[in-house]
């Protein structure tokens, strides 16, 4: 895990955090991702979180549960989470498996996700420049 290419990148744009998962994560990597993302929400006082899972070819029960947990923790910390980029075959499988994202809002892609956040939280500006771009982990 160390020294290799980043598995996930978390970027800040205004009061929104954009987390992109680049590759399949195993369970412990998912847990680390969860912790890191929740930490950063507090650190950056984010109002919105976008988790881009377009690169994931499998979202199994644990991954789905992790997404839901992140969203719930973010909500308790005052941020709205949108999951974007779920692939069509992944969506089909999640439904058959009986593991959706629950109450977590979703959007087709990053752009739609940002629009959704903007609609829900008019005060969250997304115009300021990107200031952090840290590799994960």
């Amino acid at each position: 895990m160390n020294g290799g290419p980043a598995l996930v990148s978390i970027m800040r744009q205004g009061s929104t955090l954009i987390a992109s998962v680049h590759t399949a994560l195993d369970d412990s990597q998912l847990v680390r991702f969860e912790h890191d993302l929740v930490d950063q929400i507090g650190e950056h006082r984010s109002r919105g979180v976008i988790i881009d899972v377009a690169a994931l070819d499998v979202i199994d029960s644990f991954a789905a549960l992790t997404l839901r947990r992140i969203a719930e923790m973010a909500r308790l910390r005052g941020a709205l989470t949108v999951v974007v980029g779920i692939q069509p075959e992944v969506a089909f499988t999640m439904v058959r498996l009986g593991m959706g994202t629950g109450d977590v809002p979703t959007a087709l892609d990053l752009e739609e996700g940002l629009a959704l956040l903007a609609a829900h939280a008019p005060r969250a500006r997304s115009g300021t420049s990107t200031d952090t771009s840290n590799g994960y982990p």
Partner: protein, 351 residues
Amino acid sequence: MPGHTAEDVAGLLPMVRRIVGARVGGHPAAEDLVQETLTRVLAASSTIEPGMLEPYAIVTARNVVASMWRDADRKRRNQHRALDLSTPDAPETQVVLDEEQSAMATALARLTDRERRTLLDHEVTGTDTRTLAAREGSTAGAVAAQLNRTRARLRVEYLLAVEKVEPPTDRCRPVLIALSGGDQRRQREVQAAQHLLECEPCARLSQPLLERGQQRDDSLRIAISGDPDIVSARVAARELAGRLAFGPTDLTVVATAVSEVCRNIVRFAGSGEVVVELLETPRRGIQVVARDGGPGIPDVERALGDGFSTYGGLGLGLPGVRRLMDEFAIASEPGHGTTVTMTKWERTNDG
């Protein structure tokens, strides 16, 4: 008092040879025994009374020969112990072994003389195919092919003998032999798949034959002992499934199901293994067998009960996996682990 010199001892050689020869005859170790006797006599020569050298040598020679027999006998009697370090066999093991042996004898007897001779020369005596080809007036390749056919027949005859089954129809043997040999063209000729659907004994007997055939390159085995293995197992399963005419959805479904069952292994048993196999019969598909030796599931019915909210139930995710796959079976014995067997078939044109 240095009673005897090395020359004196060397002079005993013909006598010692005679004594040893009288007892062991042309045994390959005879000369070793002679030398051993002389070495012992030489080592003791300084303490041997004058005139006692010959009697001493005679007694030593006898002792050396006797101890060789004793050693050989002890080795023979103890040989099984050297091989068998495990717990003593259960009483039924010998019975099973005897049955297997007699089944093998029956199977061998059902081969033709020529098949049997060639097979035994190759497998037991170790004669290579080229030598056999020269003897049979054939080529090495033809002999190897014939050996393969003989082995395929022997496997079938052995199974029939050990299961004490007499094939109900005269199509059974050709089908089983075609399956045993893994010859797909021949399997189509005899309509093996069709026959297996109609003939219950053959369907049962074909299992070990098919399992054997698939171990070549259409299957893989992944040891599961931690989180990263879950990902490697599902990646490998997806890759293998990619050889079938599966669309992206089926590939994702298989990968996800593998992910779920592997997670159960890691969470509840600690370690286990997953075997992914491509199936050709009765249809093309992919079979996943996930095994562990963990605590087992006390109430399988409940674990499969669909509460829909997976993590609200027993947390095994099994109802969801069952929905994903076409076939799903679970065997679990508390204290002895769990085996999940699941299959996804390739879709046929008619749906």
